[in-house]
């Protein structure tokens, strides 16, 4: 009986399975190929791009585009090679992006964990109301907050400063509070009760029992917020209204690099070198923590 069922299944589905495989491989190709193509273009010298743009394989392999985007080539040499002398301060932008991500993610994870624990386990007047407020904050579209926050930063004199960039996302992540609270609620209560009977304070229980048990979810939240902050554009773009070059995160720097292109055909090889360089850190994350990243993203929906 069982044999019949499975052989029938195999026969009946082999064709549709074949089609499904082809489609799946096609979508994988569509996902990954553009990145390869960016890399290929970045390796091409400006002069031969016109003839080789549509080739699938690199017909050239020069690192000149990378070095001039990084500002390692003098403007005169760039001009002599027939490309725009415009550069992005890649190293500077990478640095400011790393700081931006590091500071906001660390602070968000810490403060979210503290608040989430109180909402999950401690009893205090107003708890449910405050939690409801935090939840409702997830609904507010960012543009609603950006304009008054921009004005607040202006009044504080924090426009085009690092503190202005990080301030709004430093103390609270409504998603983080919600996400960690759900996890804390799932920890068996017995552990904490036992510690309580032994006279442990809430701070001790949080620090010594709950946090060590929560390394997985804390890492998940860290990865999710890192991806979000790494890709952040709108707020760092508007708060840097003085266009301070030292405060341009990678996304803003690249957008400016494109916006500053002289009219006429854009400097594709340079643009693609800059684009590829900005993707590299993401690849590093995926290579070293691939499983964790995939599982975190998968988990972000199951709440």
């Amino acid at each position: 009986m069982e044999n019949r069922v499975s052989s029938r299944v195999v026969q009946r589905f082999s064709l549709s399975r074949g089609i499904a495989w082809v489609l799946l491989l096609l979508f994988i190709f569509v996902s990954v190929f553009p990145i390869y193509f960016v890399f290929k273009t970045a390796l091409t010298s400006h002069k031969v791009l016109g003839q080789t743009a549509a080739n699938f394989f690199p017909s050239d392999s020069t690192l000149f585009n990378f070095s001039r985007v990084l500002g390692l080539v003098s403007p005169e040499t760039a001009q002599a090679a027939g490309v725009s002398p415009e550069t992005i301060n890649f190293i500077g932008s990478l640095q400011i992006t790393v700081w931006y991500v590091l500071v906001t993610v660390t602070a968000q994870v810490i403060f979210s964990a503290l608040a989430a624990y109180a909402f999950a386990r401690l009893r205090f007047p107003g708890r449910d109301f405050l939690f409801f407020l935090v939840l409702s904050a997830m609904m507010i579209p960012s543009i609603v907050l950006f304009i008054p926050n921009f004005i607040l930063m202006k009044n504080l004199g924090w426009l085009s400063t690092f503190q202005g960039m990080v301030a709004p996302s430093l103390l609270i992540s409504p998603f983080g509070v919600f996400f960690l609270r759900q996890f804390f609620l799932s920890i068996p209560l017995e552990l904490e009760e036992a510690a309580k009977l032994d006279g442990a304070t809430p701070v001790f229980i949080f620090w010594r029992i709950v946090l060590p048990l929560s390394q997985g979810p804390l890492a998940t939240l860290g990865i999710l917020t890192t991806i979000g902050m790494w890709n952040d554009f709108f707020w760092p773009f508007i708060v840097n209204s003085g266009s301070n070059e030292n405060l341009r995160v990678l996304t803003v720097a690249l957008q400016q690099f494109r916006a500053n292109q002289p009219s006429g055909p854009p400097d594709w090889t340079g643009l693609m070198a800059g684009t590829f360089l900005s993707i590299v850190p993401v690849f590093v994350l995926l290579v070293f923590m691939g499983r964790r990243v995939v599982e975190s993203l998968q988990f972000s929906g199951s709440k």
Binding site: S16, A118, F124, L130, F206, F233, T275
Partner: protein, 306 residues
Amino acid sequence: MQSKTNTSSKPRAWWAAFLNREALTAYAFVLPAMFGFAVFYLLPTLRGMQISTTDWNLLSDPSNIGLENYQSMINDPVFWNALKVSGLYVLWNIPLQTVIGLFLAVAMDRLTRSMLVRAALIVPYLISNVIAAMVWIWLLDPFLGIVNSLLGGFGIDRVAFFGTPELALPSVAGINIWRHMGLTALLFYAGLQGIPRTVYEAAMIDGSDEWTTFWRITLPLLRPVTVFVLVTSVVGSFQIFDTIAVTTDGGPIDATRSLVFYIYDNAFKFFKMGYATAMSITLFAILIFFSILQLRLFRADQSDLA
């Protein structure tokens, strides 16, 4: 338990509940988050409502004009166009993205559990909107882009994807689909893991074919995940900004001037703070309305697995 007997034997002052050790610790724990909430979420929202009733260019003092901004909004054809652009964008973006994501999830569930496949599909999501837009303006370039070379192979003339009013918005939506299809697939995939295998086995023994099983069993049981994916992706999609800022800058002739882009124009280019906030409050109301509508339509609170 203990506190209960305490209160019944001897009524305590009203503030005592706030002063016990646990409550004090709790307030200390939530203080940073609640301070952040008050300063960067609650006050800005209230302040936004208040600014929306003023005429203010940031340089001179704001003057109170009541609901005039909302009135000019109703009479502003560019506002209505922006609303239409955002709505059309959602329609270009969400159905296709959801169907592709669903297909990929089922395919992964049935064909391969490989982590490498999931990682490959998630690559575009790890790239920011800005970078994804950069990648695609190159691939879709009318003169040198690979897509046009491929189309040329089929005898199709070169297409200016971002320069043609009818094509610009679908092209921007295409970038977003490319970036989000893997993430959508991953979320559906996670949902599929929650469906007991026995349900499929029972269907198979009853002679249900793959297609029927998908429509009658997989899709209905996936509903809670579908609602989550739809609500979050519609809310996100309606607020499209980054990709437009890089690819089309709102053009050609307003064809991609979405609502958030038009709000940005008003606030940070024309410095009409009152008008911009009035539109952003309106956007907020629209999103709440659609979220509630979707939750109602899909009966989000009920699961068929119960």
